[in-house]
């Protein structure tokens, strides 16, 4: 991963899987979801978070999203999952400023979409397949 800031020990089995970026207003919500994804999908998938504003409060941060995308980046691509509202708008603005065909903002329910995407990513699926898995989560009934 030349040129990308990879935090030591962050994704120990960094390999040919699509990465996920969780964008949330809440640092705790993003971190909690990442913890859940690790349990469901294992450590093979790089999941990074952009939670809260620049000061750690509730909100969104252009810079945190940008950094999280760089950290999650593998040659296979990155799926960006925002929770709602300004998370969506900020991620959208960032990707409009820095278009990259391997980085995709996906319209999906936050928890279900992330779980579906992470598990499919763990199978080694490509960016299209992971994106579709997240979007299909709209149709998953709980009961």
């Amino acid at each position: 991963m030349p040129g990308l800031p990879v935090r030591a020990g962050y994704h120990p089995h960094m390999s040919g899987t699509v990465g996920l970026v969780l964008v949330s207003h809440s640092p705790d919500l993003a971190a909690g979801l990442r913890e859940l994804l690790r349990q469901v999908a294992g450590d093979a998938v790089a999941v990074t978070v952009a939670g809260g504003d620049d000061d750690g409060g509730l909100g969104t941060s252009y810079e945190l999203i940008r950094d999280a995308i760089a950290e999650a980046g593998s040659g296979e691509g990155v799926v960006v999952l925002p929770d709602l509202g300004s998370s969506v708008l900020t991620a959208k603005a960032l990707l409009a400023d820095h278009p990259d065909p391997r980085v995709r903002l996906v319209d999906a329910p936050f928890v279900e979409g992330a779980v579906a995407a992470a598990v499919i990513a763990a199978t080694g699926a490509d960016l299209d397949t992971v994106s579709v898995a997240a979007e299909e989560a709209w149709h998953a009934r709980k009961l």
Binding site: Q39, V115, A116, I120, A122, T123, A133, A140, R141
Partner: protein, 86 residues
């Protein structure tokens, strides 16, 4: 000629998030289509959310069914994943 294979598994634990994830990852190693059947519900083993929505609990019996060239191997591997508790 694709073949079909199936077996039943008595779940040692609820089919909750982690084992459901394991089922998806295991099934993806095979070319066969794998389904888990619980009562009247059927879930494709590609979809973790569908597997979770089965609501299959510990002690219940599910059927693992596969269709494809490597169906017996797929059924065996997925059944093993379902029987593994961590």
């Amino acid at each position: 000629m694709p073949e079909s294979s199936e077996t039943t598994v008595v779940l040692p634990a609820h089919l909750h998030a982690r084992p459901a994830g394991q089922v998806v990852v295991t099934a993806a190693k095979f070319t066969s289509t794998v389904e888990i059947v619980y009562g009247a519900k059927t879930a494709n083993a590609r979809g973790v959310l569908a597997l979770l929505a089965l609501g299959a609990t510990a002690g219940e019996t599910v059927t693992v069914r596969a269709t494809g060239d490597d169906a017996p191997q797929a059924v065996s591997a997925v059944a093993t994943a379902l029987q593994t508790t961590e």
